[in-house]
Symmetry: C2
Subunit: 481 residues, 2 copies
């Protein structure tokens, strides 16, 4: 016990998440070395432990994008300012927060350049060169890139001046096909959230107010964080002809007529790392979903100085590596207790402990990060047990996310219920008349915004939760990141 206390002195302190959730988040991301603040206000440095999560997100999404026929490309980051103003809603939405390059060294540029906040404009300008005929359609291109949006309040991963993302930009001959693509990619994202990040989400259509500047419709997936706030985790936009007509993208259709193609765009960003931290973490720190964890299994020798212990620990690590599992063998000169705390804080899904007594008994200890459950297992079963355990941890984490979400949604019929539900850190499921005034008033009174209109629009009332006038749609409200 005295030994344990001594060990604990070395563990970095994390704020109690029930007392101060934002501070818990900050403690976790800095102390686990996921990220650091950059020298320019609002920027972040993604450190190796955080960046590898992003690399696994990229691999998993690339697989899915490729399977749905998309190819990656790269477009320039600098956009002529004149492009930004070609689409009216787009410039209104983005102009105040764009970074502008005005000089090269001491020499002023003839036209100032926008550092891309998103790439619809420049990509549409290129598509106008590439597309002539219906034979050139569909165009199915994705880009991985950095983008810049200057935000007043920033927080690493959640909202930063520069962030990393992917942006898909597609062109189609018909509206129907473009709308199908929009929903297909929303589903790709939802399935990815379920099967990779182990997070359940609500999907649906955004309100006019909340949609992307330049889109006809924005679909979003909303994830619930442990403080009951919503995080918009990804969006898929049906763009219609807005940019195609502004940038004169035209194709000769089968019927001999010249037409604008129909466009979509869709993206997720390094925000997803913030999402998985706040959807899964606990008082001890991170709890990483196994499929993106940089280290899936850590092997910690106990009484490492005893004969054969390091050798056996190395053997177990090597056997797991041979299965393609990401393993860390921790033979640093620290006590096992110190290491256990450190790896729990860093959210490694499975810890294997092996000491002289275990070796004698032909067994190893496995501790799951999600439940902290400890089991004794036969060494000969290692290859069978660990992959299955990682899948089980994934499934359990998704179930927890699902249960947490659906136990924190309240159907509300008036603003008294609405405010009580918000106080309980719930999402609000309610009817809405559809007018901007109610949406704005709710936001002003409660700080909750509309999140999505779900695809299942079965009414739960006939009156708007705010004004009491006839309701036209079912929608979720929540405070959000």
């Amino acid at each position: 016990m005295a030994k344990e206390q001594k060990d604990n002195q070395f563990v970095k302190e994390i704020t109690d998440m029930t007392v101060d959730f934002p501070q818990w988040y900050t403690d976790v991301i800095l102390k686990t070395e996921l990220v650091d603040y950059g020298p320019v206000k609002g920027t972040m440095v993604i450190r190796p432990y955080g960046y590898e999560i992003w690399e696994h997100i990229q691999e998993e999404l690339n697989k899915r994008f490729k399977a749905t026929g998309h190819k990656n490309a790269y477009f320039p980051m600098f956009i002529p300012y004149s492009f930004l103003v070609k689409e009216a809603e787009h410039v209104e939405g983005f102009a105040p927060e764009v970074a502008l390059v005005t000089h090269i060294g001491d020499t002023p540029l003839e036209e100032k350049l926008v550092v891309r906040p998103t790439s619809e404009t420049i990509i549409s300008s290129m598509y106008s060169k590439w597309v002539q005929s219906y034979r050139d359609l569909p165009v199915l291109i994705n880009q991985w890139a950095n983008v810049v949006r200057w935000e007043k309040t920033t927080r690493p991963f959640l909202r930063t001046s520069e962030f990393l993302w992917q942006e898909g930009h597609t062109l189609h001959a018909t509206e129907e096909e473009a709308r199908e693509e929009t929903l297909k990619m929303l589903e790709v994202y939802r399935e990815f959230m379920e099967n990779v990040l182990a997070i359940d989400v609500l999907t649906g259509n955004k309100s006019e107010k909340e949609k992307f500047a330049g889109a006809v419709n924005t679909y979003s997936m909303e994830a619930m964080m442990l403080d009951g706030k919503s995080l918009q985790a990804g969006t898929s936009h049906y763009i219609g002809n807005n940019f195609a007509s502004a940038f004169e993208v035209k194709f000769l259709d089968k019927d001999g007529k010249l037409k604008n193609p129909f466009q979509t765009s869709w993206g997720v960003s390094t925000r997803l790392i913030g999402a998985l931290i706040m959807a899964h973490g606990d008082q001890r720190g991170l709890k990483l979903p196994p499929r993106v964890a940089p280290i899936q299994v850590v092997v910690v020798p106990v009484a490492a100085h005893k004969e054969g212990v390091i050798e056996k620990a190395t053997e177990l690590a090597d056997r797991l590596k041979a299965l393609g599992i990401r393993v860390e063998l921790d033979i640093r000169d620290q006590s096992p207790g110190w290491k256990f705390n450190e790896w729990e804080m860093k959210g490694v899904p499975v810890r294997i402990e092996i000491g002289p007594r275990d070796i004698e008994n032909g067994q190893f200890v496995a501790v799951r990060r999600d439940t902290l459950e400890k089991t004794f297992n036969k060494i000969e079963d290692l290859e069978k047990l660990i992959p299955a355990l990682l899948d089980e941890i994934h499934a359990n984490m998704f179930k927890q996310s699902h249960d947490f979400l659906y136990s924190h949604i309240t159907e509300c019929h008036n603003m008294v219920e609405f405010k009580e539900a918000l106080d309980n850190q719930h999402f609000i499921k309610a009817m809405w008349c559809g007018c901007r005034e109610c949406e704005d008033a709710v936001k002003a009174e409660t700080a909750a915004s509309t999140r999505v209109m779900p695809f299942d629009q079965t009414p739960i009332d006939d009156k708007c939760v705010y004004c009491g006038k006839p309701a036209t749609r079912l929608i979720y409200f929540a405070r959000s990141y």
Copy 2:
């Protein structure tokens, strides 16, 4: 024959490389849809066929970086202007060509921001926060990113305002270890050039004039293009304490003393795509090295309307895909001849042709892009033959690159020989007194610059090729990209 001619009408014309090599390059990159010009002068759009080459380059390098203990991270693109001026040579080298962000929307920034031309400054500033003790060393980090250097004369892949690259930045406790890392990464690059891009290179130390602005030593690999010019394909720098001392990166060493660590940086960029085009191409267009080719094998059915042909072509394609080979099945409504030309232009390493007669005989036709050699093979041997053929093509392309390089190097002892060798599109191997004046004079008279001082410094003369004074080193000269 008449049929062949008709087919050829559909093939896009490529300029004769022996008549106008730069125009041949431009034709090839545009007509094979590797790249396009961006709307801002000097920028490029990397199209899917070009970007996938970059993705394979990334995969191959990531494997090698990981195997040598490096991890990826991401640092902000915006660098405070004050950082740039902290290292004297560095600011002198980069200040005239940096893009500067001065405004966010209409609001001027307090301090202008540099869009990174390279990241030594910002990364050193972060390292000063992360490194305290010898236990924190070495730091072995790599970054994949876009960088911006405003160049007067630009050409896609070779020199563009914005390009993609990787930049490794490492810190070490001793000069010896840092110098070892510098050379280790140069060797990683050389081995990658040989085993992935199939290009032989000359490696060595750059002259003081040609080294990186801020380095103590720059090592480079130089590849010979088919017009006899050199392309600097990658560099590895020993930085010493220059940035560590400017950014106050310090560590407490084992001996209890506070010291600056020793630094390296090393990078390759999308230039490599330009290199492989100009090292391997021919009159028909691209000749892609198999290990980075987006399509390694194309299967073209002949008399595709005949019963069973499409089915058999599909079967062959599927069997190769099952081996992990990147295969395209071309069932477009065009003649086989048109397709053969198109895929030759696009540089696909192996073309498989299959028609009714072949099926009858249980055979398929394989045509290698490197030699245009055509063979008839048993269908049952497909899985054995094709992977071996891809390896053989790689080996042959490397041998051609090697032979071309070493048959185009001339040892010169005076400027008459020097100029004659240059006229013959050769590299010049010569002795040099080591003084900047001679280097500048050679450049002014011949447009050739010093490339590298090879590691094998066996003298070939005792006098400087230019001034005739005592020579101190062996060096290569060439005109370059």
